[in-house]
Symmetry: C2
Subunit: 321 residues, 2 copies
């Protein structure tokens, strides 16, 4: 039924809080449907409202538990919450659907919570391309807060989190975290740190180590005046989640006062346009396989043409058509 609806009808229903319409729009986006452009056009007037919060951290730090606890906290404030899980190891994603259902059971049946795992494998452009498109759907559908959860590995996943309005980096004690985080380039993108599983041995040491790293590096890390808070949480029992929500809210206030909020949103739009353009270029290259690209490839294979000149010709050809 939902399948038969036109794009404007789907957008209307999504804005009327119908989860099936939201899901359908995200699918159109994820599958790079031919109606993609129509979807983007229909969504655009309704976007820009949602607060985007990114969560990342190594496997085992408790990202999904923290996400779930944050969903509850924002719901208690009366906010509508969307979740995009782009973490392949997440119980929300791919294989581990059982864990997903069990854990997110508390949000089941809540029409104001929408949870989606992103299936980005095999996509041209991958995460960097698909995530902003899905975000745009949730934003237009009127979700007040969108939580984006990724595992803290891989450049494209770091890029996704870096462009959230607020990037929350999770650590857990006893994983050599402080140093590992710094190595992964994750320290630099954090707006707020949460040391989860804070009832475990070594939690205070991790907090100290982090605070020390922040005090040393803060000028390099981000602007002159934002000092990332370090919050202790035990997400499994919702302890410290209020502090985390406060930390995120304080960052929001600071970011708005210091132009960082607008700058981040501009950077996100830039990354989105660029990733769409690169994907479009690739797809135009793909379409001309049988023709221009084959001729150029044959010239390169035979040694008649060097590959850089061939690439120039290829680029020129996609715009002339």
């Amino acid at each position: 039924m939902v399948r038969d609806l036109s794009v404007p009808e789907l957008v209307d229903r999504a804005r009327q809080r119908q989860p099936r319409a939201v899901a359908r729009l995200i699918s159109l986006v994820e599958d790079a449907s031919p109606r993609l452009r129509e979807v983007a056009e229909a969504l655009t007037p309704h976007t820009g409202r949602a607060r985007v919060i990114g969560l990342t951290g190594a496997p085992g730090v408790g990202k999904s538990t923290t996400t779930s606890a944050l969903v509850s906290a924002y719901r208690a404030q009366g906010q509508r919450v969307g979740v995009l899980a782009v973490d392949p190891s997440s119980p929300f994603s791919g294989g581990a659907l059982l864990g997903d259902r069990v854990r997110m059971g508390e949000h089941a049946g809540d029409q104001d919570v929408f949870i989606r795992s992103m299936a980005t494998r095999g996509h041209l452009g991958g995460l960097a391309w698909a995530t902003p498109q899905a975000l745009r759907v949730l934003d237009a559908a009127g979700f007040d807060v969108v939580l984006v959860e990724t595992v803290g590995v891989g450049q494209s996943e770091v890029d996704v989190i870096k462009l959230a309005d607020c990037a929350v980096v999770l650590l857990a004690p006893g994983m050599g975290d402080g140093i590992q985080a710094a190595k992964a380039g994750i320290l630099e993108i954090a707006d707020v740190f949460a040391v989860n599983k804070a009832d475990r041995d070594g939690a205070d040491a991790t907090v100290r180590e982090l605070k020390h790293a922040i005090s040393l590096g803060r000028r390099e890390i981000r602007g002159p005046s934002w000092r990332q808070p370090v919050v202790k949480t035990i997400a499994s029992v919702a302890e410290g989640i209020d502090d985390l929500v406060t930390g995120i809210a304080e960052h929001r206030a600071w970011a708005e006062d210091h132009g960082e909020f607008a700058a981040r949103r501009l950077a996100r739009a830039r990354a989105e346009v660029e990733s769409i353009a690169v994907r479009e270029v690739r797809s135009r290259f793909g379409e001309m396989r049988s023709d221009v690209l084959d001729r150029l490839a044959e010239a390169v294979r035979s040694g008649a043409l060097d590959p850089y000149r061939a690439a120039d010709d290829l680029i020129a050809s996609i715009v002339d058509r």
Copy 2:
């Protein structure tokens, strides 16, 4: 000294078997030097001779040991051998240089062996872009055989191996290999299978399982007439390596007879041209950051423009300049 040479001088010296000139050319290519185009142009007339053999497999199957044993086997045939290790877990690569030196000690001082680990992190386009460029250098420098070793994880690494003249997929007993390999999409790209560590329990079972999978799947896997051989090896003591060399040679003969060799080379040229073009497009996008892209991003951020129209404008702008 080598640093001060012109590109034509470097190419001359590389063709005279001077390893420092070869290394310098690969560095120019890897670092995306401004002289990249000049390098590609100077190399092109000398390329097309080298046989490219790809090796891949999960960590722990013995890729580097097998590579080293193959180097010895081809050297015994009087062939000059280049190695490109694009496996981040390889002892040839990155961190584990000690293992590299120890293991490849047997080839040290052999002027007809050149080993290089690829540092592709952070590159626009990554492996898919850098590897063909480095291959081109070794090819022009007169190496008869180039072995490309990658870990069998990640789409770009599979793509690299798929485009070799011969793709060797390594397995080892007792890792649930047959099924794992099939899952990773590696079964489809193999021209030759080697079951390494064949003295271990389960080797025969792995061979049987593989042969069964091949007999079931062969029409889908590749053409009607090539049935991938399954070779048992113990690379650490060079056992079975002659069989592996024979399997690779038989594949070569079949591929030449059936047009597969030319088709693969054309596909490689196509992928190379495409990856250079995508990289070039990205870099043109990057250069216009402050200008066109910012204006478009602002329009998208404010909701005045949908991101697909913005991407169209961006693409148009890079070719008009």
